[in-house]
């Protein structure tokens, strides 16, 4: 196993990444966040710490963190206190235990699968990628109808390395349906290159009381394509996934209807409070002018208005905008034959217009398993 970090790129010239450089401090920071996080956010910070650990080539810690997170993601949350709170009027959706949206859950399986691949455990890698596909599923009985093609590609790759040719071909056929022009890895391929570019999709609250989630791309992380050389030879990578697309095309959630109900209740309660308060106020002026009574009734009306307004103020319709902050925006993949671990991996990044992008601390890690199969993992942001 080897690892290295690319310091600032002298783009468009390619910079050799063969020399090992000091590791990032992100794992320590993410671990500190995890330690101080409330229980409901533990899974979120566990996932972030898992990626940070992987970025520092701490595969054992990363595996353990993803196992912990996945046990929470795979566990069924029924009748939990956090869920009951999040359903109530008085707590926002973020009161629930974090489990992530489908694209985040799928990515948790993605990283666990990569770690299994790095360790040469193809069967559990395959199980992980299948688990990820299932998280992104919207149908029944293996008609997954999922469009997370990169997970299918990696399922196929795991099958190929495990010697399950028929299943590998099936998985690659599924990928080809979703990604026209996809070329399945050659039979002699033994090295997989994964490049994760850009930053995580951001969840932003929108609408009255931030009751809607909208997705925004990461700021100031413009890299969209890369040029790669391994041991002096150019390697063509194909974009296998757009995580932002996965996040933003998820569609409406059943919980959105609950939140809409909270908003409607808030509006009604606020309206009652406003009207009752106005009536009491106007009524008292009218009563004073006409010299009449009715003070008690007007007082009761004012109290109803005040209570309704307080109820409206305390309703929490805010949607859950916690998000996994160190995911990439796009994923690029190549598979090719290679003998042993590559000694030099050179990366240059470009934006949508093809202009060079300078990035600090690009992570490049390489692993070779006992059967001589290689995984190269590149991540531009942490």
């Amino acid at each position: 196993m080897t690892s290295c970090i690319a310091k600032r790129f002298a783009a468009p010239a390619l910079l050799a990444l063969a020399v090992a450089a000091p590791a990032h401090a992100d794992f320590a920071a993410e671990t500190a966040k995890l330690r101080s996080a409330p229980a409901k956010d533990a899974t979120l910070y566990t996932l972030q710490a898992g990626v940070a650990a992987l970025a520092e080539n701490r595969t054992a810690e990363s595996s353990e963190l993803f196992d912990t997170a996945l046990s929470s993601i795979e566990g069924m949350f029924a009748n939990t206190e956090g869920a009951a709170k999040a359903r109530s009027l008085w707590y926002e959706e973020g009161a629930k235990d974090y489990k992530g949206e489908p694209y985040e859950r799928a990515m948790a399986f993605w990283y666990r699968g990569l770690l299994y691949l790095a360790g040469g455990d193809y069967e559990n890698a395959r199980a992980s990628f299948r688990g990820g596909i299932l998280q992104d599923a919207f149908a029944e009985e293996q008609q997954y109808r999922s469009d997370f093609a990169s997970l299918m590609l990696l399922e196929g790759w795991s099958n190929q390395l495990n010697g399950d040719k028929g299943q590998a071909e099936d998985a690659y056929k599924e990928v080809a349906k979703l990604r026209p022009g996809f070329k399945a890895p050659g039979k002699d391929a033994n090295m997989l290159v994964i490049a994760e570019l850009g930053g995580s999709p951001r969840k932003v609250g929108d609408g009255i009381g931030n009751h809607e989630i909208v997705y925004r791309k990461a700021k100031r992380m413009p890299e969209r394509t890369l040029k790669l050389e391994i041991d002096g030879k150019p390697v063509a990578l194909a974009q296998a996934e757009d995580i932002f697309f996965q996040a933003s095309t998820r569609g409406g959630r059943p919980v959105d209807r609950l939140i809409e109900g909270k908003v409607a209740f808030q509006n009604v309660a606020g309206g009652i409070g406003e009207v009752a308060g106005a009536l009491a106020s106007e009524g008292s002026v009218w009563a004073a002018a006409s010299g009449g009574g009715g003070g008690r009734a007007l007082g009761a009306l004012a109290a109803v208005g005040a209570i309704s307004s307080l109820v409206a103020v305390n309703v929490k319709p805010r949607a859950d905008v916690r998000y996994w902050a160190n995911l990439p925006e796009t994923v690029h993949v190549a598979a090719l034959p290679h003998k042993g671990l590559p000694s030099a991996v050179n990366v240059a990044l470009f934006d949508e217009a093809g202009q060079p992008v300078a990035v600090d601390n690009v992570q490049v890690h390489k692993w070779i398993d006992k059967r001589g199969n290689v995984l190269v993992w590149i991540k531009t942001r942490n």
């Binding site: 069967e123 299948r130 919207f138 399950d164 919980v255 109290a303 209570i307």
Partner: protein
């Protein structure tokens, strides 16, 4: 009037109290031993869990011991039970040794000499010691010396497979597992014994997670 106002203020206070910051102030839970053969009340998934491992291995042990071709031979047959040819082709991540180790150990204890188990998974360890004995690095030990290590008559093969169903509408996830166990005749390449264990689990997530 004063009472009503006071009641209103009190109601307002109660409502405001409902919106105190979310604080997990649960007292925690001391460590307690759980029965490995029952489902946890707190953490459960649709994958292979401890109670499944216990149930499937117990059933296979009973079945193997009830098979005369395996456990009823005049000369106890030699058997290899490890995870080398026991494949995980399912959607569940699992350490296969959990299954094969329990099967081998409990079968060895229950067989009481009717079956001999070959420790192929410790092959390197034995080879190193044999080499040390033969090149004079250590003495010969006290039991015996053999020309070769034990050859096996049967070896475990098998596969874990699964079928998933998922409904995003209802948040229901269902997983059917089928786990096959077979003992292969290592000379004749026939299957001397087969066993199957299957189960299906279904669970529905809270509406908040659908």
């Amino acid at each position: 009037m004063t009472i009503k106002l006071f009641a209103g203020a009190l109601a307002a206070l109660v409502l405001a109290g409902c919106a105190t910051p979310n604080l997990d102030n649960s007292a925690g839970r001391r460590v307690v031993y759980q029965d490995v053969s029952t489902t946890s009340q707190r953490v459960a998934g649709v994958g292979v869990e401890s109670q499944d491992v216990v149930s499937m291995t117990d059933r296979m042990i009973r079945d193997i011991l009830a098979t005369p071709q395996i456990a009823g031979r005049a000369t106890p047959p030699r058997i290899i039970i490890d995870s080398e040819y026991f494949a995980n082709d399912s959607s569940s991540r699992i350490n296969k040794n959990l299954i094969t180790d329990r099967l081998r150990i409990e079968l060895n204890r229950a067989a009481q000499g009717r079956l001999i188990f070959v420790a192929r998974h410790y092959g390197d360890m034995v080879s190193k010691e044999r080499d040390a004995k033969r090149n004079g690095e250590t003495d010969k030990g006290t039991i015996r010396a053999t020309k070769a290590k034990a050859g096996a008559d049967f070896r475990l093969g098998g596969r874990i497979t699964s079928l998933d169903a998922n409904s995003a509408q209802s948040g229901t996830l269902s997983r059917y597992h089928q786990i096959s166990f077979e003992l292969i005749d290592l000379e004749y390449e026939t299957i001397a014994w087969s066993g199957l264990f299957e189960f299906k689990k279904e669970a529905q997530d809270d509406v908040l997670y659908r």
